[in-house]
């Protein structure tokens, strides 16, 4: 059953076509990786999925929450939605170059993640009504759980700008998880991590998937991709090269040629 369907996606930046005629389906509940050489269009795809860029053509549709009562499955068409509306549908992401709220503590960063899970409005917050206080406690607990999930609860009260790089990477994931997404997009989570940290990241990704969150992973570290992905999509110059399980992709001649070049 598909969570996300992409049909004939086109995107070019002034003549340079980043994505051309890309179509694929993303099934629910798996770790789905997108790989390809630099400039293949991975980040552009990511940015279109979360509304930072609007596609020139094609459509992206996403399954609505609990839409199955009547058999016909209803989808959102994402490509003309603003980022915050797309997030409300249950999509969240981490960023290649960290977009952490450095003016807040780690706990507060993750509490921002709970924005969609809470509802107190501007005026009640001003007057600090009892409903606001109750919700604050709930949100704080939810954030602590997300921090614990990513083994960061000991740094809860530290200012974000005093955390180590590895911790910041996991903080971003904890923040995304706190918004209880249906689809979590990870943009090179292992970049800049040493081996042990990459190992921890792989376990974390598997743990996230097991908790029912579909993961869309963009990563250059082949070892991480091959061990933790259920399905892989290979992009090259904006075209779909191949799609399949890790083993199929590993010995697919077209992929090998594109990646390792031909032996004469």
């Amino acid at each position: 059953m598909n969570l996300l369907r992409v049909k004939h996606l086109e995107k070019s930046f002034g003549g340079v076509s980043a994505i051309s005629n890309l179509s694929f389906d993303l099934p629910k509940g798996i770790v789905f990786s997108v790989i390809g050489p630099n400039g293949a269009g991975k980040t552009t795809l990511f940015n279109m999925l979360c509304g930072f860029y609007t596609p020139d053509q094609g459509s992206i549709i996403f399954k609505k929450e609990n839409a199955e009562q009547n058999k016909e499955v209803i989808y959102h068409s994402l490509h003309n939605m603003a980022t915050h509306q797309i997030a409300a549908c249950g999509i969240s992401r981490s960023f290649q170059n960290l977009q952490i709220f450095f003016n807040m503590t780690a706990l507060e960063n993750v509490m921002v993640g709970c924005h969609l899970q809470s509802s107190s409005r501007f005026l009640p917050s001003l007057l600090r009504l009892p409903s606001v206080i109750k919700e604050e406690q709930r949100v704080k607990q939810q954030a602590l759980n997300a921090l614990a999930f990513c083994h960061l609860d000991h740094l809860a009260n530290e200012m974000a700008d005093s955390l180590a790089y590895g911790d910041l990477k996991r903080l971003e994931i904890a923040r995304a998880l706190a918004s209880k997404p249906k689809l979590l997009m990870l943009d090179e989570p292992a970049a800049g991590l040493n081996d042990t940290e990459t190992q921890q990241m792989s376990h974390l990704i598997r743990k996230i998937c097991d908790s029912g969150v579909t993961v869309l992973l963009v990563e250059h570290n082949m070892e991480l991709v091959m061990t933790s992905s259920d399905q892989i999509l290979v992009l090259n110059f904006g075209h779909l090269l191949a799609q399949g399980t890790p083993d199929e992709i590993q010995n697919n001649p077209v992929v090998v040629k594109a990646y390792l070049g031909e032996d004469i």
Binding site: T43, N47, F52, F95, Q96, N97, Q99
Partner: protein, 291 residues
């Protein structure tokens, strides 16, 4: 009706070229150090006032002007050394407050040195108005326009074709990268403040015969120069000139055709409208936020 427009345009261009010169001073400092220098108006005032003092002391005009430029350049160096340099890496708002503090400080100093009186210099070549097709223009206006064109092309040439100019531009793009290739960033910044101060002083000397100068004449000029730089797109020298001229013409047309009391309000309303349509100024480059 038609000879109005010519007269409005002439006075608009005269005032506009002053705004353009001050705007250019803003751009040079912004290009070198990402700082919007709200004390730019004070450079103009100090240039004008010191030129007047030197000429009152009997020094011939040309030498008085050169000495005034040197005094203002020293003030520019001091501003860079003692105010901007120690505050390296401060946020946009903090540097704005620092330059505002500097402008108040310089105004206080001018108040002590020159008192509260108005000062003027005799026009460079007489006061005989010249008639062109119904409209009249003062020789001093021609001096202002002529020298502005000269200065502007000199600055553009400096940034485009000289190694030094490119070095300053390099500093503004990326301090660390510039240092890596051996550019002494400190010296470049000092030079840019000196250059901008010199420009300000020249603008001051050019306009003082027309507009007189007092210790607080720098405020309005600084404000209009900043508006010109923003209207044209901050950081772009040609933008500052286009912005300055446009602002001058808008003001005089607004005063001429709509209402002279709301002259400045009309000019600022149009600047707001331009910013809403083009969020980074007329010629400013629209940089794409990279995620």
């Amino acid at each position: 009706m038609s000879d109005y427009i010519l007269q409005f345009l002439i006075s608009g261009i005269t005032v506009g070229s002053i705004y353009a010169l001050v705007g250019l001073g803003f751009t040079i400092i912004y290009n070198a150090s990402d700082v919007v220098n709200f004390a730019q108006g004070e450079f103009v005032m100090i240039g004008a006032m010191s030129a007047v003092s030197f000429s009152i002391a009997g020094i011939p005009l040309i030498i008085a002007i050169i000495m005034a430029m040197m005094v203002t350049v020293l003030v520019g160096f001091a501003l860079n050394q003692f105010a901007i340099k120690p505050a390296k890496g401060a946020s946009v708002v903090t540097t704005i407050i620092i330059t505002i503090g500097a402008s108040i400080f310089l105004r206080g100093a001018a108040l002590l040195i020159w008192g509260k009186d108005f000062y003027s210099l005799p026009a460079f070549s007489g006061e005989q108005p010249i008639h062109i097709a119904g409209a009249t223009i003062l020789p001093q206006n021609l001096w202002v326009m002529g020298i502005s064109v000269l200065l502007v092309s000199a600055v553009l040439w400096f940034f485009k074709y000289t190694l030094l100019g490119k070095a300053i531009l390099a500093c503004s793009c990326n301090h660390t990268a510039a240092q890596m290739v051996g550019i002494n960033v400190g010296k470049m910044m000092l030079l840019s403040y000196g250059l901008s101060a010199m420009l300000g002083a020249l603008a001051g000397v050019l306009i003082v015969p027309i507009t007189f100068s007092s210790y607080d004449a720098g405020i309005m000029l600084g404000l209009k120069g900043f508006s010109a730089a923003i209207l044209g797109g901050i950081g772009n020298p040609i933008g500052a000139i286009v912005g300055g001229l446009l602002l001058g013409i808008l003001e005089s047309l607004g005063a001429g055709f709509i209402s002279s009391g709301y002259k400045d309000a009309i000019a600022f309303a149009i600047i707001l409208f331009v910013l809403f349509v083009r969020p980074s100024g007329l010629l400013g480059h629209e940089h794409q936020e990279r995620v």
